[in-house]
Subunit: 337 residues, 2 copies
């Protein structure tokens, strides 16, 4: 949406191809309540972005549309797909892939958290849905939890499953959610079990310190490795790295900070457009740190979390870079053609 | 440079106003050797960026130029300044501020590291210069160090001095430099004293684990608070947070991971253009996480580390966003004018 608005503002025509029946990506489909770090209402923010492209004469939006193939080259692409069940062909000078990420599934066999077994083990995404519904409770009994634990790095920094990368945003999102838990449960004990707190840049002063000092969130360096059920409670087992000893802590509710993985759309588009993926399946950008959007295919660019873990700022900025480079490349191809 | 190239590629004219006698910013003026994370040669990378604007008919470059005032508005700005000592007026439709950061001065009175007292206490910047000269030694005696310590968060995450933010890139740069130290000193002991290792995203797998496993860099959770000299060595005093006890470790060379502060140029331009700054002096962007470049002054945008701690990818992406939004805004102002 950000890229399409920008393309339109530059006087070019943008076509948004979306598989779902409405725009908004993960913040919309997963029902995010508030954005990190500034607690902006997610629905309002997405509405604003949607309205900018919906009312835009330079933007065409194709919903319920899937892409099956691509022909041509920079300046002269033809995309083939299906829209509302009918075959379509879409022409364009350049392509920007913005297919984002999917949340890690914490129910994989390597994960000992019992996500699918215990009602009160949920994910950041499940928690967002409860915050959005303004009803934050233990799913098992509908009561407010007296103790809540966040477990960081679920599906990230994990070599066993091949996700060696850090998902970048989970520390910030967990801390933001911990503040929201405090609003719902003024007397609850709130813990964040972490390896490193990756509160880079302003997140340090915007969320990390307020969470601790104003909202009484406890950060404990240590990794939880297993969750079992004991009576009405969950027992979080792991290691407290500061105390250097095993821990077993009873909790009412556990929130798994699930990381990012390449979405199916990202994997599919990489195949359709012949774009190189890195070993994790994200789209590989070319040119090192000084180029964040170019792929190995001239005229095909990628922006946001389809290239790897990205926060909102990263994705928004990358959209701008992709617009600048894609229209620049298109113009050059017309000059030389 | 990235923004100017992009503006030119879109068919508009860019004027780069630079106070120094050549382009390249901190990587050039501070003599960076290699970029983080992919060890790209900094000079080659800057040359490539410079060449793209130097040979560009759509880019005018004004070196040795300072700005003293600004009149007008979006679509019709007039900047007044001095170029090579002569008064100049520069007209433009939109303004992108890209004045970056300056490295924290570790010799401030709050800092107990003896940067100006001990020859063998240096900064990341001093180390870069030695790497670039391919001559990495103890400044005190010209010999290769047998033990090297990096101290993280110097001037960052420090409330005493008002820099509450995390400077974002120092963990990555220190780890990259630790690998370079290993190349110069195959048998040295190399330590990184840290609070949290903020190796977000791919830095985790690209530098953090290779530094430890391939290059035998030791990461020690703990903050060094003071450095004194004892005979031929430095003594790093502090707390080992894992062992939970005070530490006093002898070292041949200590590298202070100095953070980012707003540059003088950033502070000056904020004044000249009437742009709002945050409490740290960086330029404040408007619109939360979904707008990384707009300032409170319509038509004036900011990109990169002048808005706060930023890595190379952040700055490059933000340049694209600033180009997209500035030309978009200019075009709209012409339509309504």
């Amino acid at each position: 949406m950000e890229a399409a608005r920008g393309i339109a503002d530059l006087g070019y025509k943008a076509i948004i191809i979306e598989t779902r029946d409405r725009l908004g990506g993960n913040p919309d489909s997963s029902g995010y309540a508030k954005l990190t770090p500034n607690m902006q209402d997610s629905e309002e923010a997405m509405d604003e972005m949607r309205n900018a492209v919906l009312d835009n004469p330079n933007v065409e939006i194709m919903l319920n549309t899937t892409i099956g193939g691509m022909e041509g080259e920079l300046g002269n692409f033809r995309i083939k797909g299906k829209s509302d069940g009918k075959s379509v062909e879409i022409d364009g000078g350049a392509i920007i892939v913005a297919t984002g990420f999917q949340h890690f599934d914490p129910g994989r066999e390597t994960q000992k958290y019992g996500y699918y077994e215990h009602d009160d083990v949920i994910t950041l995404v499940d928690a967002e849905k409860m915050f959005k519904a303004d009803h934050f409770v233990r799913p098992s009994n509908g009561e407010k939890p007296k103790s809540v634990a966040f477990i960081q790095c679920v599906g990230s920094r994990d070599r066993q499953i091949g996700n060696e990368y850090c998902s970048k945003v989970c520390c910030g999102i967990s801390s933001k959610q911990a503040i929201e838990v405090r609003h719902h449960c003024p007397d609850a004990k709130i813990f964040i079990f972490y390896i490193d707190m990756r509160m880079y840049g302003y997140w340090e002063n915007e969320i990390y310190w307020p969470a601790q000092e104003k909202h009484k969130v406890n950060y404990i360096k240590g990794m939880a490795t297993e969750i079992i059920k004991k009576g009405d409670h969950l027992i979080v087992k792991g290691e407290d790295a500061t105390l250097r000893r095993p821990m077993e802590v009873p909790m009412d509710l556990v929130i798994l900070a699930v990381g990012m993985e390449p979405s199916m759309g990202t994997r599919r588009m990489a195949e359709v457009f012949g774009i190189k993926q890195n070993k994790f399946g994200f789209i590989e950008t070319m040119g090192g740190a000084l180029n964040t959007v170019s792929t190995n295919v001239p005229g095909v660019f990628a922006a946001g979390a389809c290239t790897g873990p990205a926060d909102l700022e990263d994705s928004i900025s990358a959209a701008g870079s992709a617009v600048m480079k894609s229209i620049g490349a298109m113009r050059k191809s017309q000059v030389t053609a």
